[in-house]
Each structure stands twice: as structure tokens, then as C-alpha cells.
């Protein structure tokens, strides 16, 4: 993750899983990842999307009545993330 992305954090992994389902059905490209602890100590699972899709994703979740903690614009430090280095990206 070397550029800003959208992260939606949740209180419960069951809400996160439900959110993934609803947003994929809406045509958004989303991914469940370990919840970044520097933005929320809550649920172990967060949802990553393109930053440009964040507002639409949140709106869709509100429409579907799915509880979430917050949407964030998120970026690791400008250098490559640990994951990018390990995966040779």
C-alpha cells in the first residue's frame, strides 16, 4: 500500500464480512485486511477500497443498514510497506 487508499473500520468482524458482501454486489473492488492498528484498535478485520470509492462505499453501507466505525483515507509511510517489499512490488 504505497498510495492512499480507503479503509473502512468496523466494530465486529461479522459486520465487516457483511459489508464485503454488499459492496462486492454493488460492483466495488474491496478487500478484507487486518485492521490497521494505527487508525483503530477495534475489530481485527478492516475493508480496503480505492480512495475514490470510499464515499460511495460508506453511503452504500449506510443504505444497507450495516454498522461500521469510520471511513479513513489511509497511507503507510511513503516508502514501501512491509508487504510490498515482501511481495516484490
Amino acid at each position: 500500500m504505497s498510495e492512499p487508499c480507503g479503509i473502512i473500520t468496523f466494530f465486529s468482524s461479522q459486520h465487516a464480512v457483511q459489508a464485503e458482501k454488499v459492496l462486492k454486489r454493488s460492483g466495488l473492488s474491496v478487500e478484507l485486511i487486518p485492521g490497521p492498528k494505527d487508525i483503530s484498535p477495534n475489530c481485527g478485520v478492516a475493508l480496503k477500497c480505492a480512495l475514490r470509492d470510499l464515499a460511495a462505499a460508506e453511503a452504500r453501507l449506510r443504505e444497507a443498514g450495516i454498522r461500521y466505525e469510520a471511513g479513513h483515507s489511509y497511507v503507510l509511510v511513503a516508502s514501501k510497506s512491509l508487504l510490498d517489499k515482501l511481495l516484490g512490488r
Binding site: S12, S13, Q14, Q18, G44, V45
Partner: protein, 382 residues
């Protein structure tokens, strides 16, 4: 091959998809759902959520996160009873309840709660008007079984739910004998709290079950602990499902339960109910025509969730059970079935009954062999 007629205790066999789902879970998904962010934990969480969704659709619950998992219906019933009632409240129940309802209620009664047990008729059916008559301004809960585990009698849950709604009292249903056997609609029937077990009519493994809640009611948890959420706080989360699910879920069991519910949905509970009613009708007709046998419960199989109790004149029920098992390979349950109240209602306390309970896999041919065996036992006993 045994003829298994103890499905009211636990259903057998399970659909092959249930075994496959549990094996798959342990081989591939295997993580602790909701605790970690890694792919196995997330996959486990997806499987649990899919089961939640399936159950929510089956019961017409308001939303999947208001379907919470417990280890069995007994745990769910304890959550309801101890969650809603304290020493000062009044609760109304019926005279056909299982001990999973009566024991917690009697415990609360000993602590000062007021308990009214509405008598049922000889077939085990309650009159909703009798329930309405005993509701007071202090009533905090009306709780009733959906169907008796002794007589199979299906209670008038829709009428009871209407009364509860009119009186502004939460309505809880013990669906241990009906989930997966009889259609259940929480919203249409004004059911606020539905306690269900996974290992009987739903066809899942033991160690699964839960509680579905309407939006009108909230419960404090019975168990406090780790939920994999709000981990920085030492206080129980207030949102569902986590509030009521402390500790690691029986996720492998829930994987099996989810598969079982998916299989039920393919056929439809209504069709399975009709199949079981046909079996019950044949069993009751056959048994009742044998001199020396008394059959209890509703006369009409349409009022039966799949359970038949009977007795032989002059024979102890346990002796009949032994004979059915050893001489004929027919597996039943004998005795009081953890429901002394039900036996007092139908007049079989303390001797108990022989109980035969069918499943979606029971066949007409098996029922024919059972009726023949009952006839032979009656012949021997004369």
C-alpha cells in the same frame, strides 16, 4: 440397519453436505472467526456469517446480526429468562414446557419472581385466551414452547404473539422441536426472542444453536469475555452479535449448521413438514389401531411437529424401548424426556412414555415396520 426414531433428542443421519462442510472447515478455513485479520480467520468469519444469514432467512429475522449463536437452545433460553427477568418480575408460561424453560423459571421463582403456568388440555395444547387472562402490568415475559417434545403438539404461536404484542410484553419461543421442522416467521408471528437448537430439526451438529432477537428487545449477556471486537476496552461491546457471543464460537459446528440450513432451504421447510406429517399420520393411525396401545397428543398430524408418544397397557415404557431396540432395531426414547410438566398435563407422570420422533430421512416403509413391531410387542404382552 437401525430405524432411528429419536430425532427429538438429536437428528440422525445428517445430510452429507454437513459432514463435508465441517471437514472443509477444519481442512481449509480453520481460523478463529473474527479474531485475526489473516485469510483463514476472515474465511472462518465468512462461513459463520453465511450461517447467520441462512438462519435469519429461515426464521424471517429482522437482520443477520440479530441472529446470535449459542451452544444449544438451553443456553439461549437461559439468556432470555435471566436476561429479562429479575426477582421482581412476573412471567407467564405453559404447562407443556421442557425443563430448559421450567428450571430457569423455577430458579427465578425461588429468588422472588412471580411465575404463572397456564394449564394445557390433555393433548398438550394451550388456549391463547387463558394466557391473555393472566397477563398483568408486571408481566415481563411470555415464554412458550413452539411444539412439545413429548406430544409433538404445535402451539398457537401466532395467536400468542398477537396477545403479547397487544399487551406490550416480550414474547419468547422455544423452537427446539420446530426449527427446521415447521415454518417459523418471527415478524409475522410477533416473536421477539427465538431460541433454537442446531442439532435437531435443522440437521446440524451438536454444540450449535442460538437466539434470534427482534429489533424490539435487547438482552444483557449471560457470558462476558473476549469477542474479538473493541479489544481496547474491558467492557462488553453493546452491539450485536458480539454482545451475546463471548469466547470462541463453535465455528466448525456452525459451518455444518450453515450447510444444513442451506440444504433445508433447497427443499423448503413446508415440504419437509408435510413429509413428516404424513409419517406421523401413518404412525398414529397404525399404533392407535393396535389394542392395548394408547397414543397421546393431537389427533390431527397437521398439528404435530414430528413427535409421537405412546404407552402399552401393562408394560413399563422402558421395557418397550428395550424390546424395540434389541428385537427390532428401532431406536426410541423412553421416560419423562426432561419434561415432567408435559407428562403431568397428558396424564403420564411419573411413568413416562415411549417417544418416537421422525426426521426428513425417515421413510414410510420404516414407519410400516415400526407399526408391525408395535403390533408384535402388543401380541407378546397379551
Amino acid at each position: 440397519m437401525a430405524i432411528y426414531l429419536d430425532n427429538a433428542a438429536t437428528s440422525w443421519p445428517k445430510h452429507p453436505a454437513v459432514l463435508a462442510a465441517m471437514q472443509d472447515y477444519l481442512s481449509t478455513a480453520g481460523g478463529n472467526p473474527g479474531r485475526s485479520g489473516h485469510s483463514m480467520s476472515v474465511e472462518a468469519a465468512r462461513i459463520v456469517f453465511a450461517a447467520r444469514e441462512g438462519l435469519g432467512r429461515l426464521f424471517n429475522a429482522a437482520s443477520p446480526d440479530r441472529v446470535t449463536f449459542a451452544k444449544n437452545a438451553t443456553e439461549a433460553l437461559n439468556m432470555i429468562i435471566f436476561g429479562l427477568l429479575g426477582a421482581g418480575g412476573h412471567v407467564v408460561t405453559t404447562g407443556i414446557e421442557h425443563n430448559a424453560v421450567m428450571r430457569p423459571l423455577r430458579r427465578l421463582e425461588s429468588l422472588g419472581a412471580a411465575l404463572t403456568v397456564v394449564p394445557c388440555d390433555r393433548t398438550g395444547m394451550v388456549d391463547p385466551d387463558d394466557v391473555k387472562r393472566v397477563v398483568t402490568k408486571n408481566t415481563r415475559l411470555i415464554i412458550a414452547t413452539h411444539a412439545s417434545n413429548v406430544t409433538g403438539a404445535i402451539m398457537p404461536v401466532a395467536a400468542l404473539g398477537r396477545i403479547a404484542r397487544e399487551c406490550g410484553v416480550p414474547f419468547a419461543v422455544d423452537a427446539a422441536q420446530t426449527a427446521g421442522c415447521v415454518p417459523i416467521d418471527m415478524q409475522a408471528d410477533n416473536i421477539d426472542l427465538l431460541a433454537f437448537t442446531g442439532h435437531k430439526g435443522l440437521g446440524g451438529p451438536q454444540g450449535t444453536g442460538g437466539l434470534a432477537l427482534s429489533p424490539a428487545v435487547e438482552l444483557p449477556p449471560l457470558l462476558y469475555g473476549g469477542t474479538g471486537s473493541v479489544s481496547e476496552a474491558e467492557y462488553q461491546p453493546d452491539f450485536l452479535p458480539d454482545r451475546l457471543e463471548s469466547g470462541t464460537l463453535n465455528a466448525v459446528g456452525i459451518a455444518g449448521l450453515g450447510a444444513a440450513v442451506a440444504e433445508l432451504a433447497k427443499t423448503g421447510v413446508a415440504m419437509l413438514a408435510a413429509h413428516k406429517q404424513g409419517l406421523v399420520a401413518a404412525l398414529v393411525k397404525g399404533a392407535a389401531s393396535i389394542p392395548g396401545i394408547t397414543v397421546y397428543g393431537p389427533a390431527d398430524a397437521a398439528d404435530n411437529a414430528g413427535v409421537v408418544s405412546l404407552n402399552f397397557d401393562g408394560l413399563v415404557c422402558s421395557e418397550v424401548g428395550l424390546a424395540l431396540d434389541r428385537a427390532f432395531g428401532i431406536l426410541t426414547r423412553t421416560g419423562l424426556h426432561c419434561a415432567p410438566a408435559a407428562h403431568r398435563t397428558i396424564g403420564t407422570f411419573p411413568q413416562g412414555t415411549v417417544r418416537l420422533s421422525v426426521s426428513r430421512f425417515t421413510t414410510r416403509e420404516e414407519i410400516g415396520r415400526v407399526v408391525s413391531a408395535l403390533g408384535q410387542i402388543a401380541e407378546m404382552a397379551r
